[in-house]
Symmetry: C2
Amino acid sequence: MRIAIDAMGGDYAPDEIIAGVVESIEFLEKGDSLILLGPAEVIESKLGSKVLKKNADVIRIVNAPEIIGMDEPPVDALRKKRNSSISIMNKMAADGEADAVISAGNTGACVAASQLRLRNIEGVNRPGIAVVFPTFEGPVTMCDVGANISCKPINFYQYAIMASMYSKHILGIENPRVGVMSIGEEEAKGNEIVKKAKELIRSDPKINFIGNIEGRDIFKGKCDVAICDGFVGNVVLKLTEGLVDGLFKVIKHELMHQSMILALKFKPVMMKMYQKYDYHEYGGAPLLGVDGTSIICHGSSKARTIKNAINAARKFYKVGINLKIKEYLATTTVKGIDEQYHNI
Amino acid sequence: MRIAIDAMGGDYAPDEIIAGVVESIEFLEKGDSLILLGPAEVIESKLGSKVLKKNADVIRIVNAPEIIGMDEPPVDALRKKRNSSISIMNKMAADGEADAVISAGNTGACVAASQLRLRNIEGVNRPGIAVVFPTFEGPVTMCDVGANISCKPINFYQYAIMASMYSKHILGIENPRVGVMSIGEEEAKGNEIVKKAKELIRSDPKINFIGNIEGRDIFKGKCDVAICDGFVGNVVLKLTEGLVDGLFKVIKHELMHQSMILALKFKPVMMKMYQKYDYHEYGGAPLLGVDGTSIICHGSSKARTIKNAINAARKFYKVGINLKIKEYLATTTVKGIDEQYHNI
């Protein structure tokens, strides 16, 4: 399998990206290869001739001299910078020269480029980014977290299908319970789009649908899949990060205030938890619904994140999630759904 | 000041509500009185004749035999149950028989009853619930968290004004920095309503507006006021609760796994933090924009929450926030704003 990685994407690029790529080599299987995209001379000098020589059969560099900034308007940037890593790697995937693409760069540009080049899976209206929240009660897959900020009910339904597939085949949850993020457990709560979305999801007997879920339920083991629009999902994702950081800061402060010895003893426990429950652990978030393997990483990705993202891409590709989604969509009885779920 | 309290609202009513009322008596000032609403015989028996007799000049019971359930559709429930505590107390406030109302009951019913009876402040289109997040960097006021799930830009603007007033006059933050919850720091990000809302807020030079804020910024000291629609705000509020609980569960588990002694030593630190940073501390959330003092408490309110809510109501009333909002709205230069901000 050939995995293309954007060497220039993210806050710690290219150093951490390249470090992650090097770290991942030992986990690759025979026949796997890694394609690094970015300005060739930068990548070559960062890798060093020794590493390059040693891994000549595994690492390939593809020159992509242009860089899309984290804050550039995605569609504009893609149009202007055809020689950026994000543009080239998605084109390579479309042309059959790469089996997966990974980037920690501009999320909007990654989504747009993958949608443009890989195209959507037949029957999917809009792709969605799925992240996994590692919780005490098990992993919860949330979709969408930022690809689509104005969701129609049909998008929610398709996210429910695709995220269920992901939860089942990647995370090993047999019959994932699907909830729709809303503002109360009661059936009547939520806005019109959410209500229509629930109607639609409920009409598909193959989805293990549990109805509304609230923000707190994600961490209480109530569901395995949480569906929402990209605006709500993105707020949730970033809030979670900020809150976890903030809470650890408070704990540290309180402990140091009480006893330095206690604070020092607590430190390794904290580090262990950080490793176990933070987003770096899951590496990247798959863009569900495009006809290929596109993994979007956090802007703050470190070497460990990239290494895990490479593993995530391998699993996603080898399990053949997209084929399973295609089969599902081809046989679902809810297929000929009314136009009302498209436009609201 | 006369404060009306719904004895039957919330998951722990009436016991915890009544306990909170009794606990708050010692903090009252001369002339303050508490009006308890609910089935009179229930309240009387819970209070006990001794307490009642001792506090005859402070506590008054008003019989409200009907109870609105937590899950009842608000408007329906208010129409059918005119003798419920929520109905009667808001009517009393409108008739000048109470200066503030407090309930931990059905949030939708509280919002609807206060809006119906107290009416909106002149110039306010829709009221919003403001909660205070106690963060390591200081308190952050978020509005709206559930009164209005389909916000127009004009509502965002008014929430920015009202929450700023609250932050300044209640929390003592001189020139509160106001951000709008969105999905990226960059100006271009966010949906159409958020973009229009920002335009409007920015056009008012008296608001210290900092633009987009992301979920993580709330806990990073980047803003003092966070504005969002009630759907997003409610998700954020409940997610925060769930995540804090979930994280403490994980910490406990990890500590017990490492060392029981360490776990035991950590317990008091955890309890202290819980007290300092949880939502019970701020008591209740004011419904900003109604022409009166209406405090909405969490459904899981305990005695401490209610006691703090009574204090919050006193402060809200005595500081005269509503007068300040009226003055602001009467003099703002952004007053004659285009209809486009009302309808989108």
